[in-house]
Amino acid sequence: MHSNYFLIAVLAIAIIPLIIWAYLLVAELLVSRTPQKVSRNLRPWLWLLPSLSLLFVFLVYPALNTVYLSFLDAKSTNFVGLANYLYIFTDSNMLIVLRNNVLWLVLFTLFCLFFGLLIALLADRVRYESVAKAFVFLPMAISFVAAGVIWKFMYEYRPAGSPQIGTVNAFFTAVNPSFEPKAWLFDRSTNNVALIIVGIWMWTGFAMVILSAGLKGISEDLLEAARIDGAGEFTIFFKIILPLLLPTITVVATTLIINVLKVFDIVYVMTNGNLGTEVIANRMYKEMFNYRNYGRASAIATLLLLAIIPVMIMNIKRFNAEGSHE
C-alpha cells in the first residue's frame, strides 16, 4: 500500500507542473487568437487563475468556513451566536491563555530584537564575525520540538543536595553552592519566562542575520563623516544607525510577532500548558483534537487570525512603500 502512495506522490510532483504548464500553453494559444483589446485585459487573469484558485481552495474558503463554524456549537449543528467568543474572554483559563500570549508577544519580540541587534552590532566589529554569527544562527536549524526536548533536559530539576543533572541548576549550584535548585518549568514564577527563553534562543539568530544585513547597507562614508564631525559611537548609533535601520527593524519585528502568535511546539513539548503556561495555539489544538469542540476551536482560530491581520497589513504597506521608492 505504501509503495503505491510513494508512486502517487512522485507522479503528483511530475503531473502538477505539467498540468499548469499545459494550461498556460493552451490559455496563451487561445488568448492570442482574440483581438488585442480583449487579450490585453484577459491575459493577466488567465495567468493568475491557477494560483488564485489554489489560494481560494486552500486558504480563503477554509478561513471563511472557520469563521462560520465559530458561531456554531461544539458539533457544528446549532447556531450559538457569540457564545464561543464570550467563553474566550470570560473563562478564567482562557484569560490566562491570553495573558501568556501577551507575555510572549512582548518579551519574545523585544528580546529577540535586542539581542539580535546587539550581536549584529558587536559582530560587525570583529574579525571572526561569520563564526560568531553562525553560532547564534545555529538554533534556527533545530526544530521547535527538538529545542523543547533539549531545554527540558537543561531545566531538569533534582532536589537540593542530590547531584543536579540539568545544566541550568548545575551551573547555578556550581557558581553558588547555597543556591536552591529550582524546578524552572514547574514553578509558576519562572515557567513562562523559562519557555520564552527557549523561543528567544531559537529566533535571535533570525533577527541578527536580517539586522546585520541592514547594518551592512549603511554607507561607511556616512559614519566616517559623523566621526569626523566629532560624534561619539553612542550618538552615531542613536542618531544615524537606528533611524536608518528602522525599516529593517520593523520587518523583523512583524515577522517575529506573526511567529510568536503562532507559538505552539515549545509549550506542547515542555509543559503541555500545565501550571498556567498554555498559549492560544495549544488551547486551539486541545479544543479541536482532544475535546472536539469545533465551535470554540474555530473561535480561537478566528481570534488568532484577527490578531495577525493588522500586522500583516503593516507588513504589506511596508513592502509597497519600499517598492515605490525605486
Binding site: 503505491n4 530539576y157 533534582r158 524546578a183 514547574f186 506542547y268
Partner: protein, 435 residues
C-alpha cells in the same frame, strides 16, 4: 507557432505515459494492497516489539501483513484520521471514553459481525465484555490489562531496618505509621512522579481513584466517572483531602512538590532502589515492573522489589480492585481484519503480552505459566479472582474532563491550598462537558 504545437504534442505524450503508469499502479494495489492491516496504537519500545512478535505467527499463517503505527498523541491522531475519513483498520484506543464517543458516532464496527462470539464468551469474563459494550452492542475488546493501586516497596529496606513489610490487609492508618517510622530514619515515605508529557498528572488520578473507591464504594465511583457527581461534593473533596495527607505534606514525599511534578512516572520509583534507599513506598500499576527491571536489571522480583495491595480505608470496600486495560476498536470490516481481530482476542495472542511485558491477560484462558515471574503471576491471580473490579475512572470520563483532571492534579501538587478553586474549576468543566 510550430514550436508551440510541438510542445503540446510532447505534453500529451508525457500525459499518456503517466496515465499508463497510473493504470498499472492501480492493478497492483488491488492484488497486494488489501492484505496489509494498518494498526494504530500508543505502543512503543518493548510494547511495540512484543506486538510485532505477537503478529508474526499470524502473518506467517495468513500472508496478511500487520503494520503498527505508533504515536504518543493517540487521541488527537485518531480524531484527525477519523474526521478525515482515513481511519486505521484497527486501533488501540486511548480509553473507554473514546470508545463510547466513537461508537456513538457510528465510526466503529459492531464486533458481533467480526468475532466468533461463542469463542469470545468462553474467553472473556462478563465484566470486560460489559465494558466494551455501548448501547447493547460490543465495540471494544479489552486486552493487556494492569492492576492499578499497587504499593511497591524494596524488601531489603525493611529487612535492614528490622521491620516487617506491610501485608495485603493493611489500612491507611498502618500506612501512616510506616511513614512515621520511615521519617524517623531519614527516609521519605513516598516516591512519586507525575510527569508524562501531554498526559502529565495521570499518576495522581490513579491515587485519587483508588482512595475514592475505598472511601465511597463502587456505586459512587460509577456516578463519579459518569459525570453525575459534582466535583465540589463532599465525596470527591474527601478523596483529595485524604491524598493531601501525603501529597500536600513535603515531609511525606521525596524531593518535594516540584520534584513530583517534574519527575517522569517511569523514573519515579528510583529513590526506592538507590544505595542507600531514599524512599519507602511507590504507588503504581502492575506495569511498572518492566520499568523497574529495565532501569535496574539486577533487581529480582519478590527478593528485591515487591508489592502489596493499596491500603484499605473503609473496611466495607477493602476487596475492591482497580484495573485498566487497552481497548481495541475496529474501523473497517474486511475479511483480513476479521481474521486478525479474532487472532488478537485469542488466548494464543494474549499470552504474548503476558510473557513479553508482564501485562495481565484479560482472556481468562491464558495459562498462568506464561507469566514471567511470581509477582506477575500473583497480579494475574488477583485480577482473575477479584470480586469488585472497577476500571480507571479518569479513562472513562469524557476526554476534556479527563484532561482537566490530569491538569488539576499538577496544580494541586504545586499548591494544595488552592483545592477549592481547583475543584470549582473541575466542576465547571463537568457542567460544560456533560450538559
Amino acid at each position: 507557432m510550430k514550436r508551440l504545437t510541438m510542445t503540446i504534442v510532447m505534453a500529451v505524450a508525457v500525459f499518456g505515459l503517466v496515465y499508463a503508469g497510473g493504470g498499472t499502479e492501480k492493478s497492483a494495489s488491488s492484488t497486494g494492497g488489501q492484505k496489509t492491516i494498518n494498526f494504530l496504537a500508543v505502543w512503543g519500545g518493548q510494547e511495540a516489539e512484543v506486538f510485532k512478535a505477537m503478529v508474526k505467527p499470524f502473518e506467517e499463517r495468513t500472508g496478511i501483513k500487520v503494520e503498527l503505527e505508533a504515536t504518543r498523541d493517540l487521541d488527537a491522531v485518531i480524531t484527525t484520521r477519523v474526521e478525515a475519513g482515513n481511519p486505521p483498520d484497527v486501533a488501540g484506543l486511548p480509553g473507554p471514553g473514546k470508545l463510547v464517543e466513537l461508537a456513538k458516532a457510528g465510526k466503529l464496527v459492531d464486533l458481533s459481525q467480526v468475532l466468533d462470539m461463542a469463542e469470545f464468551d468462553k474467553n472473556y469474563s462478563k465484566g470486560w465484555k460489559d465494558l466494551g459494550t455501548v448501547d447493547g452492542k460490543l465495540y471494544g475488546i479489552f486486552t493487556k490489562a494492569a492492576i492499578k493501586g499497587l504499593v511497591w516497596y524494596n524488601p531489603k529496606t525493611f529487612k535492614s531496618a528490622g521491620v516487617n513489610p506491610p501485608s495485603n490487609t493493611w489500612t491507611w492508618n498502618d500506612m501512616m505509621a510506616y511513614a512515621k517510622q520511615a521519617q524517623d530514619k531519614g527516609l521519605a515515605p513516598w516516591a512519586i512522579g507525575v510527569e508524562s508529557g501531554a498526559a502529565s498528572g495521570w499518576v495522581g488520578t490513579d491515587w485519587l481513584e483508588n482512595i475514592f473507591l475505598r472511601v465511597n464504594g463502587p456505586d459512587k465511583y460509577k456516578e463519579w466517572y459518569e459525570g453525575k457527581l459534582a466535583w465540589t461534593s463532599p465525596e470527591v473533596r474527601k478523596a483529595w483531602e485524604i491524598w493531601g495527607q501525603i501529597i500536600a505534606d513535603p515531609k511525606m514525599i521525596y524531593g518535594g512538590p516540584n520534584y513530583v511534578n517534574s519527575t517522569n512516572f517511569g523514573n519515579a520509583h528510583e529513590p526506592l532502589f538507590t544505595n542507600p534507599p531514599k524512599a519507602l513506598f511507590h504507588h503504581q500499576a502492575s506495569f511498572i515492573q518492566s520499568f523497574i527491571t529495565n532501569q535496574f536489571p539486577n533487581l529480582k522480583p519478590v527478593e528485591d522489589f515487591d508489592f502489596v495491595a493499596f491500603p484499605s480505608i473503609d473496611p466495607k470496600y477493602a476487596k475492591a480492585v482497580e484495573g485498566a486495560a487497552d481497548v481495541i476498536g475496529v474501523f473497517k470490516n474486511t475479511p483480513e481484519v476479521r481474521a486478525f481481530v479474532n487472532y488478537l482476542a485469542s488466548a494464543e495472542a494474549q499470552a504474548y503480552w503476558a510473557a513479553g511485558t508482564g501485562a495481565l491477560a484479560t482472556n481468562k484462558n491464558v495459562s498462568l505459566v506464561f507469566y514471567p515471574d511470581a509477582l506477575t503471576k500473583r497480579a494475574a491471580d488477583i485480577m482473575n479472582k477479584a470480586e469488585i473490579v472497577v476500571f480507571d475512572a479518569s479513562d472513562m470520563m469524557k476526554p476534556e474532563m479527563n484532561a482537566a483532571f490530569w491538569s488539576a492534579v499538577v496544580s494541586y501538587i504545586e499548591n494544595p491550598k488552592n483545592l477549592d478553586s481547583i475543584l470549582a474549576g473541575l466542576e465547571k468543566v463537568r457542567k460544560d462537558a456533560y450538559k
